[in-house]
Amino acid sequence: MDRRPDIHLAGVAKSFAGAIRPVEAVAPVDLVLAGGQMTALVGPSGCGKSTLLRLIAGLEPPSEGRITIGTESPDELRQRAGLAVAFQDAALLPWRSVEGNIALGRALARKPRDPGMIRELMSLVGLSGFERNRPAELSGGMRQRAAIARALAGEPELLLLDEPFAAVDALTRDRLNTELPPLWEARGATSILVTHSVAEAVRLSDRILVLTPRPARIAADIPVPLPRPRGPEVLASEAFRALCTEVTDALRDHQYPESVAAQ
């Protein structure tokens, strides 16, 4: 099996049952995400980017269209534990230790136990010494890091990051943006990052898709040709700032839902 599957979305749309009429979350979208790349989905809060991520994860069925990852459907990939999600609210189980939570990512993926690998992951995300602690004893940033370590523990082919740094303060976020990318770059997984931070998207991804507010449509498709590794010095570069401006402009042009903008 190819470790770097492409993701194909063909006419994928999603709407939810609403009180009066269905709410359209994702408008029909056609898209190919190249294997081994990190793609960032950027858009205003509530625009449907997390919904798009959940569709690709197979956690929700699309209302229309088809998603294939390599040759499989998201469900098939999920059934053989080929993907992992780092959830927005970390979703750590409070009765398990930090180490137990991270090891759970491997157990649920039906991979053999590997305590050495779990320790290594914990030290990579800076949680050494907190093995026996419960999630409630960690800060928001530590919980997010534990959730990312759990996602990596199952060695997924497809890594889905749903605003993994949303609950993290700006300083920690900056540090994580420096320290974490080498983790998934080294593993070569295809990855998708949902974020509403422009700088984070530019810093981490190979390609940025700017989404419109509900229903989500692709407003701009911006490649990020910055060289890796992207240390803190990248933030000062001209190319970085130009890309941030481009993404910000695209976001501003599509600030409001189309129905409002048309008036």
Binding site: A57, L59, D75, R78, Q79, R80, A81, L83, A84, V85, F87, Q88, D89, A91, L93, P94, W95, L104, G105, L108, A109, R110, A136, G154
Partner: protein, 531 residues
């Protein structure tokens, strides 16, 4: 369901005992006052003095020990079986969500059956031995474990289930990794309530012709108007209940489980279509009748005492003398409802009222809450004879028994509800320097209502148990006394009719409260209504 991850962090202080006075000093003071009051009122034969009670316990220690051992053995067996049934039923509902309403309705119906009437029937079924006591103890606990465990199995946030699903794992993994660990604190909370209830159930079982046990001694002491004996048994039953309640709570803390914050009974589900609720009710009724008849036929129970549904219909409607029998039954039921209704409302009103008062004057809480937690765990069996003895065999005694039975759980549930008022909402009222009363009405009362209604529903079986037991043991009126009389004269037609009627009345009362709950919560806390 609004249960968040926060539920597993610091729990309400309400379940932990607080001691404003040094333990020994307070107890000594209470005993001294008790002794004084008892001596002052010695002529009226109401209160036995601690010295008399202690004297009785010493002089009859052998008898009391044997009786206590027998009751405890039945209670422990019933506790195990009843809780096992409650947990399995909750698992069944979680794994078969479509069957939830039917299973919940049947579980409620069985829980509402009056123990004082099922006792004599079980006695005939089992013959001599501990069967009825154990069964009644199990019947007294399974429902109060079923409800919180069901809530606990569902209390986990969606994200945890998404996590399991994202690895392609199914329901059984979700059950093992998420639902069962999440339900553990709820199970402990259920077991805590179950511990005194099992003791109570075992004692009721012993009323109906057991050879030994504290229930046997209670009946004997009441008949002989033996004041110190009645009090001594009540003190033992109360002490055991409080100890069991505290021991299970300590076990929960030992396991590092914070008590759950969310409602112990889930809010009622909202029907999507108007015909849904009546259709479900009819289905539950049909299922109940089917199980009633089916189990009797399968086990080949003799028609003489195991009356089928059609026998009850014949007895009450089509048979000879049906009209007179109907009149007798309904007169007794009316008499009972005239006492149970006011007691039920008084218990609920006083419980909720005191909770609100304590929200206005939090300083009082330190004195009242530990006391009510202690009193809540005392089985009604222990207090009923004493209250009726004190207040007489008229209406006041029975109404008080019912009110006391309901008052403490309601108070504690309402305190939990009040504690769940969102901090930010309270801050908002604080920012505008609103009066405490305004804050109470604007923020805290709406936050309390779901807990209030949950306890109003749970109070219905409790009220039935209290009123029928008081009537049966002490007052000699109403349907409780009727059931006692017809059980002793082997008038099984009337006994089964009474059971069916009480069960029906309980389910109707439950539906009424649930409808009221839906109507009120739709206005005040729509998010609480299960979809």
């Amino acid at each position: 369901m609004s249960a968040g991850r926060g539920t597993l962090r610091g729990g309400p202080a309400a379940l932990r005992a607080q001691h404003p006075l040094p333990r020994g000093l307070g107890l000594l003071l209470v005993l001294l006052i008790w002794e004084g009051v008892a001596r002052a009122t010695a002529g009226s034969f109401i209160i036995a003095a601690p010295s008399q009670i202690a004297g009785y316990m010493v002089s009859h220690s052998g008898l009391l020990w044997r009786a206590f051992g027998a009751t405890l053995a039945s209670a422990v067996q019933g506790f195990v079986w009843g809780n096992l049934a409650g947990v399995l039923l909750a698992l069944l509902v979680v794994l078969l969500p479509r069957g939830e309403r039917l299973l919940s309705a049947l579980a409620l119906l069985v829980f509402c059956l009056p123990l004082v009437a099922t006792g004599p029937i079980l006695r005939v079924l089992y013959g001599p031995g501990t069967g009825p006591q154990v069964t009644l103890a199990a019947l007294a606990v399974y429902y109060t474990t079923f409800l919180p465990v069901l809530v606990g199995l569902r209390a986990a946030p969606q994200g945890w289930f998404d996590l399991v699903r994202s690895y392609g794992r199914g329901r059984m993994t979700a059950l093992r990794e998420v639902r069962l660990p999440a339900a553990l604190p709820y199970l402990v909370a259920g077991l805590q309530i179950a511990a005194p209830a099992a003791f109570l159930g075992a004692m009721v079982g012993e009323f109906t012709g057991a050879e030994r046990g504290l229930g046997v001694l209670t009946v004997r002491a009441l008949r002989a108007l033996d004041l110190p004996a009645t009090w001594a048994i009540a003190v033992i039953a109360a002490g055991v209940s409080m100890l069991a309640f505290a021991a299970v709570g300590a076990l929960g803390r030992r396991l590092d489980l914070a008590p759950p914050e969310v409602l112990m009974a889930p809010p009622v589900a909202r029907s999507r279509r108007p015909w849904e609720a009546p259709a479900q009710a009819l289905l539950a009724l049909a299922a109940a009748l089917l199980i009633w008849k089916g189990s009797m036929e399968v086990f080949g129970l003799p028609r003489f005492f195991a009356k089928r549904p059609e026998d009850v219909w014949f007895y009450l409607v089509t048979g000879p003398g049906a009209e007179a029998q109907r009149a007798r039954l309904f007169a007794a039921l009316g008499e009972t409802l005239a006492l149970a209704g006011p007691g039920y409302l008084a218990g609920l009103g006083l419980g909720a009222g005191l909770a609100l008062l304590l929200a206005l004057a939090p300083r009082l809480g330190g004195a009242v809450i530990p006391l009510s937690i202690a009193l809540r765990s005392i089985p009604i069996i222990a207090t009923a004879p004493l209250i009726v003895w004190a207040l007489g065999r008229g209406a006041a005694g029975t109404i008080t028994v019912v009110a006391v039975m309901i008052f403490f759980p309601t108070l504690i549930a309402c305190r939990h509800g009040l504690a769940r008022t969102p901090r930010a909402v309270l801050d908002l009222f604080e920012v505008y320097a609103s009066s405490p009363l305004r804050r109470l009405l604007g923020a805290q009362l709406p936050a309390m209502l779901p807990a209030f209604f949950a306890s109003a529903r749970m109070a219905i079986p409790a009220a039935i148990l209290a009123v029928t037991t008081a009537e049966w043991l002490a007052t000699g009126r109403g349907i409780g006394a009727l059931m006692a009389t017809v059980a002793s004269t082997s008038d099984y037609g009337m006994l089964w009719s009474a059971i069916a009627l009480v069960g029906l009345a309980a389910v109707l009362a439950h539906a009424l409260v649930a409808a009221l709950e839906r109507a009120v919560l739709a206005r005040t806390s729509a998010e609480q209504l299960a979809r």
